[in-house]
């Protein structure tokens, strides 16, 4: 899933300043799960904004709406069946960066602003904790590294083993965090697959991951 964090409140407040009618639009998928931009977070941001703007004597109408997904036109097109987008002079999107962009593609005559900082592709470790797991490199080597991604989990993205800074299995960048290669080692030992990492890995192919990337399913080409 995509993990995001809400922007600092003052930045959000500054970005809507001057608007009279604001729609805060949540997204019910990834960012709802990571407690950043779902229905509840939309409600919290709406009341915070209302209070803060009232204290500044700004008269702003703030409405709330959360749709299933903002990264899918099908769901975005539903918006106008529930509110009238043209009533608002500003949409504050609480989706990830992809959602914000599709929203502003569809409503390209409207100002659409991000309320979140999109952070990474990751997993839920436990209540309230998410960790990054994939950098979408378009050339997955998890099969070699025992299901642990060195591109993401190693601070230097090293594919041929640990750097010289690792001490006692900890990363040189943060001694509270395991070195990716120590984790890979443990996993490969468990799997009896140490031979996987004895071969020199060639340099990564960044030509496979130039942006913006495009995927068209075979059936639709």
């Amino acid at each position: 899933m995509i993990v995001a964090r809400r922007k600092p409140f003052d930045e959000i407040k500054g970005s809507v300043s001057g608007a009279e009618q604001v729609l805060i639009l949540g997204c019910g998928t990834c960012v709802a799960v990571c407690l950043a931009g779902g229905e509840k977070e939309v409600a919290i941001l709406a009341s915070q904004l209302k209070m803060a703007l009232r204290l500044e004597n700004q008269n702003v109408r703030i409405d709330e709406l959360t749709i299933e997904r903002q990264c899918d036109r099908e769901f975005i097109e539903e918006i106008n069946t529930r509110v009238t987008v043209d009533d608002y002079d500003l949409i504050l999107s609480m989706a990830c960066g992809a959602g914000v962009q599709l929203l502003s593609d569809v409503f390209d005559h409207k100002v659409v602003l991000p309320a979140l900082n999109t952070t990474f592709i990751g997993v839920a470790e436990g209540p309230g904790v998410w960790t990054e797991r994939c950098r979408a490199c378009s050339n997955c080597i998890l099969g070699v590294t025992g299901g642990i991604c060195p591109i993401t989990m190693c601070a230097k993205g090293l594919v041929n083993g640990p750097c010289g800074g690792a001490i006692n299995g900890k990363c040189e960048l943060d001694y509270n965090r395991a070195c990716a290669w120590a984790m890979i080692y443990e996993r490969l030992q468990k799997l009896g697959k140490m031979e996987n990492v004895r071969k020199i890995q060639p340099p990564r192919r960044h030509d496979l991951a130039t942006s913006p990337a495009l995927v068209i399913h075979k059936a639709y080409q």
């Binding site: 601070a155 690792a166 040189e172 120590a182």
Partner: protein, 287 residues
Amino acid sequence: MILDSEKFVVTAEIEPPKGTDVTGLLASANALKGKVKAVLIPDNARGVMRMSPLVVCKLVKDEGVEVIMTVACRDRNRLALQSDLLGAAALGINSILCVTGDHTMHGDHKEAKPVFDVDSVQLLQMAATLNSGKDMNGNELSGAPEFFLASTVNPFASPVELQTIKFEKKVEAGARVFFTQPLFDLERFAGFMEHARKYPVKVLPEICILTSTDVARYQDHKLPGFFIPEDIFRRIREAGENDLNEGISIAAELIKEIKRSKLADGVHLMPGREKGAILEVLERAGA
């Protein structure tokens, strides 16, 4: 090649200047002339921005001192690395130390993009390929370098097997000399050397002149790759104001023992807090 000597090899490190004033640099180089086999020039070590090692190497070489140029993977992508390597060859800089490089987060430009387009193993392969007259993508070169390749190994990190695998990859990629992380623990180092002796490579452990500042930074986890055993730690602590003198003694003792027991092929000295410290170590060690 300078590092290919049969004798006990002593090299030392000189930090490139932060700025354009090279008088200190040239003075250090001249002070070491005749005392060490070559000086090693680091590449923005610890992620701290300094003068280009390529330029520094040329300046030092012009003083009649042999140089080893460090190339780190942190700041340049594969095009820039190959360009600089060809440039080095044209200037007669042929001893190259290939390293991954400390992360930008350790340095004075934390906001920088850490590159790591290739890693140290791939960098060695790249340099070896240049030696064969081709760039890393197989395109013909007009004129090929004759690099002698060095790299680093950390004999003190665990899991040991992973370090060993990386060491073997580096040998396979073309490294013939290995510098190590700072050596304080001879026993642990001897264990590593037993393995390293199976390969046609020379190993030059790094000797550091410890001071109380280092010991404090070590405690704060600010010295990546360092492993300081308890007794050495205590000696520096207890030396109080005489910490530098104690650091010099520790370094000299280590060198003497390495030489006596033929534990390694030489040593590599890191500059201490004071410029003259390296010379003092060499004198006390009789090296």
